[in-house]
Symmetry: C2
Subunit: 244 residues, 2 copies
């Protein structure tokens, strides 16, 4: 028996997220089927996190315990042969048998893209939020710094979540502009349901004047979801790195 | 009567090129229909060039002579309302009545993208040529310089073309690498059918050893299509600028 750590990239547009769904296409299901075609074995593939429908990944990690004995370096190409072109495995490493893609993750980094041009850009369709009103990335970056640190992020968690402990540490949160593209990078030890999308929605709400500039610490402190901004679309969100 | 210069961007994946086709969706047809919906008038829209099926544009120019009197600055948004999200008009300027998008073009710039990673990248699917073998961008850039100048480009023209005069001037031709992406930029006063795609195919053939390094001037000189490289896929090609 071996434990394989697989690293992949996917365009989440056509999927109902990572996790196998009773009614809907998922990355986990496609990968499980591809692994069965390659190895002849039905194995449980453990993902580093769930991602929502439409969310993308530049780096998603998962592990699978198997007695398949194909050399690790041949596995990505073999899996990609069976996967749709929207999913690409680019790493396979043998890891200790105890390694668990979710429990061993020390943290993650997400990127959120906003296309901030005046008119839609076809090349960012389903790849970034289209937001045509003026955004000042330098101001947003200043507000973003208020998320850094250990906080109770109850105000930045979907009401659908039943998780009790809502304290998380954000390592960094920054906003950069490259032409018409705004890139928001958030890293931390863990994320609540929809947390990055609500953080981005809040930074936009400060720009549009719905939330007063400089009051992000108060919004956090309130622990009230109603004080934060909207949950922005999933299409702009990318799981970018997983730290082990 | 006014003459309007429209500037647009499109993802060509789902289209049979710019020009109206009897059987197939085209950008010209979609734009003509959108213009009719906005202005109530059926007008002939003149494009700066044809682009092939699957070719994209960051900047495509076309003009339309019309007595529609909607202010120019309102036209892009109005057209985009009727266009699919794969086409986006971002400029509309009133120009002199004699202006003709094709005849007045002094030159064009094309970009060709190659995704040169080991495994497919879902985010470049239909947006770049996937080429997983080693490419040295510095060496390619050196060979690219041999295309600059006034040459008879018969060796770099599809056999399907019946154009007689195959002399064109290439202003610049350069190759750059950004991570796994290779970007080839070619500008010139005019381009023969498939010319950029054959230039790129030739630069790749030099890398793979099928064409000897340093012999691009001889391939040009031969005026024989058989001595140049293959015509690479349309999906990596972008019309990037039109010079007037």
């Amino acid at each position: 028996m071996r434990n394989l750590l697989l690293t992949l990239r996917y365009d989440g547009t056509d999927f109902h997220g990572w996790q196998v769904q009773p009614n809907g296409d998922s990355i986990q299901q496609r990968l499980t089927e591809a692994f069965r075609s390659v190895s002849g074995k039905s194995e449980n593939i453990i993902g580093c996190s769930r991602t929502d429908a439409g969310v993308h990944a530049n780096m998603f990690c998962c592990n699978v315990r198997t007695d398949c004995n194909i050399p690790a370096e041949k596995i990505p190409g073999a899996l990609n042969f069976y996967l749709p072109n929207t999913i690409s495995v680019y790493g396979c490493d043998e890891v200790g048998f105890d390694f668990h893609a979710r429990y061993n993750a020390k943290g993650k980094e997400y990127v959120y893209l906003i296309y901030n041009g005046k008119y839609r850009n076809p090349f960012y369709e389903n790849k970034a939020l289209f937001y045509p009103y003026k955004l000042n990335a330098e101001e947003m970056n200043k507000d973003a710094k208020d998320f850094i640190g250990v906080h109770d992020f109850s105000a930045f968690c979907s009401a659908d979540s039943d998780i009790q402990d809502k304290v998380r540490e954000i390592y960094d949160c920054k906003v950069e502009r490259e032409g018409d593209l705004i890139k928001i990078t958030v890293s931390g030890n863990g994320f609540l349901y929809n947390m990055v999308r609500i953080i981005v929605g809040t930074l936009i709400s400060v720009q549009s004047g719905k939330i007063e500039s400089g009051t992000v610490p108060e919004v956090i402190e309130s622990r009230d979801r109603k004080n934060a901004g909207v949950t922005v679309e999933s299409c702009g969100l990318y799981l970018n790195k997983v730290f082990y």
